[in-house]
Symmetry: C2
Subunit: 249 residues, 2 copies
């Protein structure tokens, strides 16, 4: 199999391939956190690096898949991947009753769209909000335009959400089921990472904590409401984490 | 109420006092991690600092309690405290069946003795092992001597286990129910903290990770056995955590 991913989908595909005894090649950004590269290699995958600021990872992965006759497993623009990621929300609403609001990070839109389908089906009237980096408007612009929009990829701590666009299939779900998408800054995400470490003793990466960041920063009104927040991904390079915890980032 | 504690019991007493609307004074070491001092103050307690390398905290706390007519709540040498901490093991064995071995950190012995009573009552034949800092033999020497032994307090990353002795009541339980106590080094504890952060995304302080450290270092044979390990406490100063994660400690 061949996949492309900023890191978490990479690890998921590599781990699944290892379990199934299948060879995996993953196209990853050369500036992905070393911890994500090492973890993916640790699951036995071959890694092909690219420059996310100038190269097209889909083209690179597609060429490798064609050359090797391998299946390409996209990180978000695929029904099965969206459905799989949506089990996050179905587990959440099974465990916590009567949610009024669900807040989910959005990179390419797989997690958010899958969670939106699951939550909307299981909890009538639930409000669903997506969260992306303030400097990357791919989801907000796509919802406004009604079509996939390519944006410039900003440098940000939120490395799990640096994709230049959201997927076409996720966009259809967002348009139908997601109330809105809001942006969070690096500083807001860092603060959320610190709160999670200090108060819940959980290590969550900045992109994974972006949902909580939006709530703590007041971008999503929560007063008097029962709120579910999806935390996703805990891969932060140790020096980066050290600087976040020390309040330097 | 008045209590003395290196940090985690301090927070527990302060939080309970706040819930009950009772004034709490906690005697804490002046070199306790700032995060533990801040958290205890955050629960509304007054903190009295002492030098743990030369002063006697029990005497200080006892004098304050006498002067104010307050109740003294010791951190481990008390039946109710031991029983309360033992609920950790009763919850664990309710959730995970057929454990062969339980590994628990020991500072003063409240957590280990409470867990030993619970585990031995609920799981017949379970082996119970305590873990203390390699440089502090208070538990090992007391079990050998059959009486409480005062040892020199070493400087160690394992700040939750720097007490110069274990309690008399915990020692009676250890003698009856605990198979043995092993020591771990600072480096072994740091490694365990890194493994927990990288693999489970949990933030555990060095003392709290000492049980896992003993297992990873091979001090406790686990081959083919079902093993429970108690993780306890997640308060590490950010700069210290940064150095641990970077492999500098």
């Amino acid at each position: 199999v061949v996949a492309f991913s900023s890191g978490n989908h990479a690890q998921a595909v590599a781990a699944a391939a290892q379990l199934l005894g299948v060879r995996a090649t993953i196209v990853m950004p050369e500036d992905a956190p070393p911890v994500k590269l090492e973890a993916t290699r640790g699951y036995g995958a071959e890694i092909v690096l690219y420059d996310r600021y100038i190269e097209d990872r889909r083209a690179i992965a597609g060429a490798i898949a064609d050359e090797r006759g391998a299946s390409l497993i996209p990180p978000y623009d695929h029904r099965d991947v969206m459905a799989g990621q949506g089990t996050t929300a179905s587990e959440l609403v099974e465990q916590v009753a009567d949610l009024d609001l669900l807040v989910v990070p959005i990179g390419g839109g797989g997690l958010l769209s899958g969670c939106a389908v699951a939550a909307a089906a299981l909890v009538s009237g639930i409000e669903i909000v997506g969260v992306e980096p303030e400097g990357r408007r791919a989801a907000r612009d796509a919802m406004t335009a009604g079509e996939v929009v390519e944006v410039e990829v900003p440098r940000t701590l939120l490395d799990g959400q640096q994709t230049p666009n959201i997927g076409a299939l996720p966009l259809r779900v967002l348009t139908a089921l997601v109330d809105r998408v809001v942006g969070v800054t690096d500083a807001e995400a860092s603060h959320a990472v610190r709160v999670l470490a200090a108060r819940t003793k959980q290590l969550v990466e900045p992109s994974g904590a972006s949902g909580l960041a939006a709530v703590l920063a007041g971008h999503v009104p929560v007063e008097g409401r029962r709120v579910g927040i999806v935390l996703s991904g805990g891969n932060v390079a140790a020096p980066t984490l050290a600087r976040i915890l020390a309040g330097e980032l």
